[in-house]
Symmetry: C2
Subunit: 220 residues, 2 copies
């Protein structure tokens, strides 16, 4: 990638419309075509653009204008004064990051260990289609004999409450009783409150749902 330290300004038009006043910043031109304008704060670029098809360069009044574009977007960068310019070589095939404890893995864990969360639930199926999209887990309440719609989240929000209620709505046309359940690692108070008002059961995953358990699953 190429790194340029310069006083620059920018204009973007595409998904949104932005104007960036001039300041001394870092411009990164990655080998895959990605362009990033960085300042010294935070982790997000101020302006950026990916999937660039067209690039043009102009010189006007001693300033360099860079024009990046694709079918839907346009980014203009004006380099007022260049202080440094350098090229660095990184690994072409960067081995990808390994993510653990994702919602997908949590869902697989709970599918296999539902009774650890609550003894009375019996797992029936995963990603069961309701008509409003698939519910994460469909289970049976061994005490009541009724059905259970379970929505799983790493962090449950009020949206999760409405989501599981939608599934229950849809499933109630097929089953006599459907009980809404939210299972998550974290709930905030307002979510628990709303769930309680709406009759949605909230269950927390034991914090020791462990890496060892994963060995049983294959994601692919």
């Amino acid at each position: 990638m190429k790194l340029i330290v310069a006083t620059l300004s920018a204009n973007y038009n595409g998904r949104g419309l932005t104007e960036l006043p001039p300041a001394k910043r870092l411009l990164m031109l990655k080998d895959d075509g990605t362009v990033l304008i960085m300042n010294d704060k935070g982790f997000k670029p101020i302006n950026y653009m990916t999937t660039i098809n067209e690039f043009n360069q102009e010189h006007k009044d001693g300033e360099t204008h860079l024009l990046f574009s694709n079918k839907k977007e346009k980014l203009e960068i004006i380099l007022h004064e260049i202080f440094q310019e350098s090229e660095i070589e990184l690994d072409l095939n960067d081995p990808s990051i390994i993510r653990e404890q994702t919602e997908e893995k949590l869902q697989l864990y709970i599918s296999k260990n539902l009774s650890k969360i609550d003894e009375k639930y019996e797992f029936l199926s995963r990603e069961f289609e309701t008509g409003f999209g698939p519910v994460d887990i469909l289970a049976k309440n061994k005490e009541t004999g009724g059905m259970v719609a379970i929505e799983i989240k790493r962090t449950a929000t009020i949206n999760s409450v409405y989501q599981v209620l939608r599934y229950v709505d849809s499933l109630e046309s097929r089953y006599e009783t459907v009980e809404p359940v939210l299972i998550a690692l974290n709930f905030n108070d307002s979510t628990k409150r709303l769930a309680s008002n709406k009759g949605v059961t909230c269950l927390t995953v034991p914090s020791d749902w462990s890496e060892e358990e994963f060995e049983e699953f294959t994601l692919f």
Copy 2:
């Protein structure tokens, strides 16, 4: 900020849990404490961390271990081999980017020009509290005399449909009839279909809702 080109690996634990195998990458250490690990693809860092309170450095077997942490997160970076190291100075007070055509500006535009979208609607208030969060615009249908709950989006999704229906649910305890309306620049087909099934009116903002109109508004 400091830039380091090195063969490095990383482990993060906090909001999630990740493992990054070694490769030659760019490490950015920003002046505000932000740490970024970049490769030569895309606009996102592979690993990163912000709001760091604690930093420790260790040397083991000729390798440098960097340990960044705060109350909730921990990031370890192992520098196996360092190729380059440099320090660059950027502007301390980066003037902030100017965003146009944001949802907020769209909301203000529609507040003042609701009759341009549909003659029969009369604006009553903005950000009206429903009990399930504020509805963007509360209006009156001059033909029916009923109330109108309007949700505004740059791009409307199926979630927007459920959102406005929640507001209507809540408002119906206060008003006799409440009509759900979605106003957006873009709708996708499935959103329009769902809205139609659920009795939610979809209205598109004329593409010439112009910058000139903004002059009337003050955001602050």
